[in-house]
């Protein structure tokens, strides 16, 4: 897909050149004026079409980031303009706060856990669902369904089922596994695993759909050729399917990592405003809200926001540089050579 983009942008200037300058061998004055007119027009068009998006982007993304960086240098309760400049003090407090170190660990756990749990299961499910089996459509819908349900519904539903006297514990009791009953949400030793389980349940459908789409784009001929050459099913999957699914896998992993770093709503719904850190499920985002808005420390909260932004940015850039590079070469990294 990416190569075709590069090709197209290579073709375009060549074609234009042939039409304008190449008509009689030498560029004539009217032709040049016409091209100049087109240029201005193109620029106006670009400005007009991109304008709203640029305004929105600057107003709602760039400006808030800049303001957060500014507020982060102040002790500020949110009333009026910030006046109490404290330099980097907020940042030193962040990095010496054991609570913040804990949330970093929780986020890291979710990032790695999501990849390790969801990736293999989703690949297996996608391979299964790529076969012609009965009820395939229904199974696909069922697997994809959790992804479509809103986070609030998912959070409320699971928190009711996982309560100490909830459905899961009752189920375990009635099938004779009463010994496995647990405080799934409030036991600090397992709450993070519970969270990982809920996240995996919710987001695996998304991974499966992505992988299915990736599988569909692998040409049938490759499989046929391999089969003729006597390759076994597993050999085909390992040598053909997985390598050709690579770009899809890498993009999915990227989305999963970013999503895990930004995790907020599920935690906030299930564990509420206060006890996520006690249960050991707090994330960088819940830390920011708890220590910023809920405590009325807006300067500190903004400093936390900056730290989260930088961490996400670094992760995203490193991933793009080292993992996604071969997929995006030509499309994102550099202009195609004219």
């Amino acid at each position: 897909m990416t190569t075709s983009v590069a090709l197209r942008s290579n073709e375009a200037p060549a074609g234009t050149g042939r039409r304008t300058g190449g008509a009689d061998g030498s560029p004539s004055a009217p032709a040049r004026r016409a091209r100049k007119g087109t240029d201005v027009r193109t620029r106006v068009e670009i400005a007009v079409l991109a304008g709203p998006a640029v305004i929105m982007f600057v107003g709602f993304v760039i400006l808030p980031v800049a303001l957060a960086a500014y507020y982060g240098f102040y002790k500020w309760q949110g009333y009026g303009a910030p006046v109490d400049f404290v330099g980097l003090q907020n940042y030193t407090v962040i990095f010496t706060d054991p609570d913040f170190r804990a949330v970093l660990w929780h986020n890291l756990f979710i990032v790695i856990g999501s990849l390790v749990v969801q990736g293999p299961i989703a690949i297996v499910l996608a391979l299964l669902l790529n076969q012609r089996i009965r009820g395939r459509g229904l199974i696909r819908v069922l697997i994809f369904l959790p992804y479509v349900i809103s986070e609030v519904i998912v959070g409320t539903g699971w928190s009711l089922m996982l309560q100490s006297s909830g459905a899961l514990n009752d189920l375990l009791q009635s099938i004779g596994l009463g010994g496995l009953r647990n405080d799934w949400l409030s036991n600090p030793d397992i709450a993070l695993w519970t969270l990982l389980g809920i996240i995996s349940w919710k987001y695996i459908g998304f991974a499966v759909i992505l992988f299915l789409a990736g599988l569909q784009s692998i040409p049938e001929e490759l499989f046929e050729a391999a089969q003729l050459d006597g390759a076994s099913y597993w050999q085909i999957q390992r040598r053909i399917t997985l390598p050709l699914l690579g770009p899809t896998l890498r993009i999915w992993a990227f989305l999963s990592i970013i999503g895990s770093l930004q995790l907020f709503d599920l935690v906030y719904i299930i564990w509420g405003q206060y006890i996520a850190s006690t249960a050991g499920t707090s994330t960088m985002a819940t830390y920011m809200v708890g220590n910023g808005r809920l405590s009325g420390n807006y300067g500190y909260g903004n400093a936390v926001a900056v730290v989260i932004f930088l961490i996400s940015l670094v992760v995203a850039l490193v991933y793009q540089r080292f993992v996604l590079r071969r997929d995006t070469a030509g499309a994102l990294t550099e202009k195609s050579d004219r």
Binding site: P52, I55, V93, L185, S186, P188, Y274, A279, L294
Partner: protein, 434 residues
């Protein structure tokens, strides 16, 4: 031609975008004001989202509007756990409601210092002055001025089910921690969950610590700490030890950490309302909350009250109580006459009697207190009137930042995640953030 249309459309789109962006900043100033023709409209935020409490405020506003035809008041009820944060955001962005619930303490001090509250000292009517005790007004005084009108008093103690106590063979009510612990054991032996606590909301668990602090620390220490926010007196540690010793007896309901305080039958108030737990520590708003959660939505017939048990060896005067005065503040920008008229109206005897009936808790006006008949409320009133010292809840007293950290660290202790000394260090850490 099409291109022209497209360009026009794009320009229109840019214009619309700019308008929307501008609207975001300009449109927020919707709160109240005098529109020039003598008509005044005000917004009013409170935390009564359901049942008789919600109806009470609607009826009260209607009655006030009937008396003052030029005033309209728009009520917005916000769930209790969301009210503080939402109010703070509104105050910060200069779009505060004209009238809103006030709890005093450090939170009120922050609003006063930011110039967000109206000084109502000169507007307190004679009815309110004579009906409401000086002690209640004192809760809303700062820098020699009054910043809110008391509407109710909410002293704290333990609410219990008389039936469940009887079932467990408990006679009378405990007055010391040893007696309370013995009663808890009796309840456990009968398979009854002794104490409900809504630790998901943090503050209900922290209230146990507040009360142990009230027993361990003198009133001077409690008030001095509100000034300097330094928790270095050793009574804070003692209160932590007492709290931990009590928590270690495992007195609470199953899954207390994910139990909320007031929402639904699974909340701590709901557990008491449905006889799933024998007692809970809570302010005097609890009977109203409990009655909204009983199966038939009526007050709990066998509800009883006893003050927090005494702890031997502490510096706190015996009989001291935790308790807040609830009130209403006007924002600095509110129309002064209409707003203070409304505040005075809420304190009149008939409205205060309706308040008591709706919330099943104690009105601030002493003339209205005479209609309080429930034995549990008269017990509260007697303890309150006898108390040598009443302290505001510590999270309110010490402000949002330190209060939040204090609550969270007590929940950590409850979950077995932190030590007693962590309470003090967490609170000091919080002070560095604000």
């Amino acid at each position: 031609m099409t291109r022209k249309i497209r360009a026009t459309a794009a320009i229109a789109l840019i214009g619309a975008t700019a308008l929307v962006a501008a609207g975001c900043s300009a449109g927020s100033d919707a709160a109240g004001g005098d529109s020039g023709d003598g008509k005044v409209s005000m917004t009013f935020w409170n935390n009564s989202t359901t049942g008789p409490g919600k109806a009470f405020w609607q009826d009260t506003v209607k009655a006030f509007e009937a008396k003052n035809p030029n005033v309209t008041i728009k009520i917005q009820a916000i769930q209790n756990e969301d009210l503080d944060g939402k109010l703070q955001t509104a105050l910060n962005s200069n779009s505060a409601p004209d009238v809103f619930s006030q709890r005093g303490g450090g939170k009120m001090a922050a609003m006063v210092n930011a110039g967000q509250l109206m000084d109502i000292s000169d507007s307190i009517g004679s009815g309110a002055k004579s009906g409401i005790s000086d002690g209640s007004f004192k809760a809303f005084e700062l820098n020699g001025k009054t910043w809110a009108m008391p509407t109710n008093v909410d002293p704290e103690g333990i609410w219990y089910s008389q039936d469940l106590f009887e079932e467990a063979g408990i006679e009378g009510t405990p007055t010391t921690m040893d007696e309370l612990n013995a009663d808890i054991q009796k309840l456990k032996d009968k398979g009854i969950q002794p104490v409900a606590v809504g630790a998901k909301d943090a503050w209900p668990a922290a209230h146990w610590y507040y009360n142990f602090a009230l027993r361990a620390c003198s009133s001077n220490v409690l008030n001095k700490t509100a000034q300097d926010l330094k928790f270095d007196n050793k009574c804070w540690k003692q209160a932590g030890e007492d709290t931990k010793a009590f928590f270690d007896t495992k007195p609470f309901n199953d899954g207390f950490l994910t139990t909320s305080a007031q929402q639904g039958a699974g909340s701590s108030a709901g557990l008491v309302a449905n006889h799933k737990a024998a007692m809970e520590l809570m302010g005097a708003w609890d009977p109203g909350v409990i009655s909204s959660l009983t199966p038939d939505g009526k007050p709990l017939q066998d509800l009883g009250f006893f003050p927090f048990p005494e702890v031997s060896g502490g510096k706190g005067a015996p009989g001291s109580m935790m308790g807040a005065v609830g009130g209403l503040s006007c924002s600095a920008k509110a129309p002064k006459k209409a707003c203070t008229d409304f505040l005075n109206f809420v304190t009149t005897k008939s409205v205060q009697e309706n308040y008591y009936k709706a919330f099943n808790s104690i009105p601030a006006n002493k003339d209205a207190q005479s209609v309080v008949t429930e034995p549990y409320l008269t017990t509260v009133l007697k303890a309150y009137n006898d108390a040598p010292f009443v302290s505001n809840y510590l999270d309110t007293l010490y402000g949002q930042n330190v209060g939040n950290a204090l609550n969270t660290s007590v929940v950590n202790l409850l979950a077995g995640k932190g030590s007693v000394s962590d309470i003090v260090s967490t609170v000091n850490q919080a002070a560095a953030k604000g």
